[in-house]
Amino acid sequence: MSEMLMLTSSDSIEIYRYEEKIRNSGRSFNWVLVRDTLRFLRKSKIRKSNLVSKYGLKLVTQYLNKLDDQEGYDTIEQVIIACLDCGDETNPKKLLEQLKSKFGKDSVRVQRIQALCYESNNQLAEALQIFESILKKYPSDALSMKRQVAIFKGQGNLNKAIQVLNAYLQIYMCDLEAWLELSSFHISYLSYSTALYCLEEVLLNAPINFVFYIKYAETLYCLGGSENYNSAIQYYTHSLELNSPTEMDKLDHPPTFLPAIYGIIMSIYSMCEEGHPLKESQLKLMEWAQNNLLIITKKYSSNDKLNLVKHFIDSTDIFNKD
């Protein structure tokens, strides 16, 4: 149950339930349950490599004929990647042979998986070569270009990765994932203003997604300065507007807007620290944020956490200080 409290969304609660069920099924292998779990993981983009490699491997080696034809090969791909993620090298090779015999060596998707195997084996030159040969044949193959970026990232060669990613983004300007990746590169170089530009592109691509507003605001907050704090507050509140806390009682999962509340408290506090005069509305916002933070923590978590949150609120309190 304590693990349950850490989960913040209905997606992660669901996957937690699946995991419990699988672990409780004991020695008998419930292949329908595992298939549904893998399907859910593919859909919801949650990374659970350990789970997938452990149970999915059994599914694709023993129960493959029971799966749908199309789904079966999707599942194999998923399991291969999960196994590679867990550092397993023998099983992916076997599965890859299976894929090769089905689709032939020239299939781009199979070649890509082959390159992934090389990558996890640290044979980066071979992997790069495969991607280059794919790109020579199909110059618009977006996935291979992205993998090239990932290889450079894995090497730690961020400069080269940024260079390649920029070239990629000039062709595929509306790729949200790539913009996010570029922003994370820039953030690791601490060049927040460039990262902000990337996140702006992300915002333009997904204007109703509250998460990206929070990301943008966090980067603004990192830049510092009272002007940036001010606009960070605006972005945080806009994210609250999209993911509204007004119907909190009706939610079937813990609320997901806590980062915005923490962000509001921190930015107003930092503004106050800088000696910037606060508006009446901002004071009200601060009070609201503190109250809601307490209410939510009381409702969803244990006493230890409540104490931590109380300390946090005390240390960032602007009301009693002046």
Binding site: L7, T8, S9, S10, D11, S12, S44, K45, I46, R47, S49, N50, S53, K54, I81, L84, D85, C86, G87, D88, L116, E119, S120, N122, L143, K146, R147, V149, A150, I151, K153, G154, E177, L180, E181, I208, N209, F210, V211, F212, L242, N243, S244, H253, P255, T256, F257, P259
Partner: protein, 105 residues
């Protein structure tokens, strides 16, 4: 109070509408019996029908609490971390290998 009135208006609207249907049928029957050609529904029935439409529409809107439709509710169900997971850019030189050994013990 307002919701109660609105409900009554709903019922009145529906019954007027049923009445228009009935009178339109009646009209056609009358035409058939008197051997006249059917050229359209009489004006008073049309007006009655429109009135019933407005009554019913007003009633149904006011007889319940309306909930705002939001485009972003489905996004709130996803975990914050799932937006940070970019499957096309995963790298393999991480702690997964060692964590897996511990987890599978």
């Amino acid at each position: 109070m307002k919701r109660g009135i609105a409900k009554i208006f709903c019922i009145i609207g529906i019954s007027i509408f049923l009445h228009t249907v009935y009178s339109a049928l009646q009209h056609r029957k009358y035409l058939r019996l008197t051997d006249q050609p059917f050229e359209g529904v009489p004006f008073d029935i049309v007006v009655e029908c429109i009135i019933s439409l407005f009554l019913f529409a007003w009633g149904i809107i006011n007889s319940q609490f309306l909930i705002p439709i939001k485009a972003s509710t489905h996004l709130a169900k996803k975990s914050f971390d799932s937006y940070d997971y970019r499957p096309n850019f995963t790298v393999f030189n991480h702690r997964g290998k060692y964590l897996n050994e511990i987890l599978n013990k």
